[in-house]
């Protein structure tokens, strides 16, 4: 371990920062889970579920977009 002084003092600042970040992250996750209830988790991807109609990273409207074009 490093210097004795660091280990014998109170709670280090980095621990407080990490703890705060962890608490905020947990709160955010809980809020996301509550707000998006039914929209998060495996059920979201099941057929007939509320799967998104398109993707935000660039939906394809070209010749490859449809299922019909995928099948031989």
């Amino acid at each position: 371990v490093t210097s004795e002084g660091s280990d014998t003092g109170g709670t280090p600042r980095w621990v407080k920062v990490f703890g705060l970040v962890a608490v905020v992250a947990v709160v955010v996750v809980v809020v996301v889970l509550i707000v998006g209830r039914g929209g998060h988790g495996p059920s979201r991807h099941s057929r007939g579920g509320d799967a998104p109609a398109g993707n935000t990273f660039g939906a394809h409207t070209g010749s490859h977009a449809g299922v019909a074009q995928e099948q031989p």
């Binding site: 280990d7 993707n55 935000t56 394809h60 074009q69 995928e70």
Partner: protein, 173 residues
């Protein structure tokens, strides 16, 4: 618990290999997820979501569990302990949290693989940003854990301080 130096080095090597391997595998998973949401080729997109599930089960989960178990062994056989130092506690929490989320997320990956395997499923329903978000956050967490392991920032927990006081009293004449 004491261990011969040779065994201790082997245990440390196993822990570092599993932990860094997990980090690398998650980075590769992020790459796959990027391809999944950006590729214009439907077969490539379906292939990405099909391969994610076995990748999780055969690579990510074994590495995560190995990292967790070897980390616990490290805490038992070294002076760092499990709850004496804050950096070890944070690493443990990160490891347990990431492993639990990964195990739960295999259900989502199974659903995504099912959709990708269904030729009647629309490509827009197959594509999902969820793996990218989850793998991206996992990558951040594992980088933080690796940084903690390398820097080992000082700071004893209340339990660690008590243990230190006890050992000091025991060594004093």
């Amino acid at each position: 618990v004491t261990m011969p130096p040779r065994v201790r080095k082997f245990a440390l090597t196993a822990h570092v290999t599993a932990s860094v391997g997990w980090l690398g595998a998650v980075a590769a998973f992020v790459g796959l997820a990027v391809v999944g949401v950006t590729s214009p080729d439907p077969e490539t997109v379906r292939g990405v979501y099909l391969v994610m599930e076995p990748t999780a089960w055969f690579v990510l989960v074994p590495l995560a569990l190995t990292s967790l178990v070897t980390g616990l062994v490290q805490s038992l056989v070294t002076a760092w302990g499990l709850v004496r130092h804050y950096w070890v506690v944070f690493k443990l929490l990160i490891n347990v949290f990431a492993t639990l989320v990964l195990l739960l997320y295999t259900q989502t990956l199974s659903s995504l693989a099912g959709l990708a395997a269904d030729p009647n499923a629309d490509l827009s329903a197959v594509r999902s940003a969820s793996p990218l978000i989850h793998a991206g956050l996992a990558l951040v967490l594992l980088v933080v854990a690796t940084t903690l392991a390398v820097y080992k920032p000082p700071g004893l927990t209340p339990y660690g301080r008590r243990q230190q006081d006890l050992s000091r009293k025991a060594t004093q004449p």
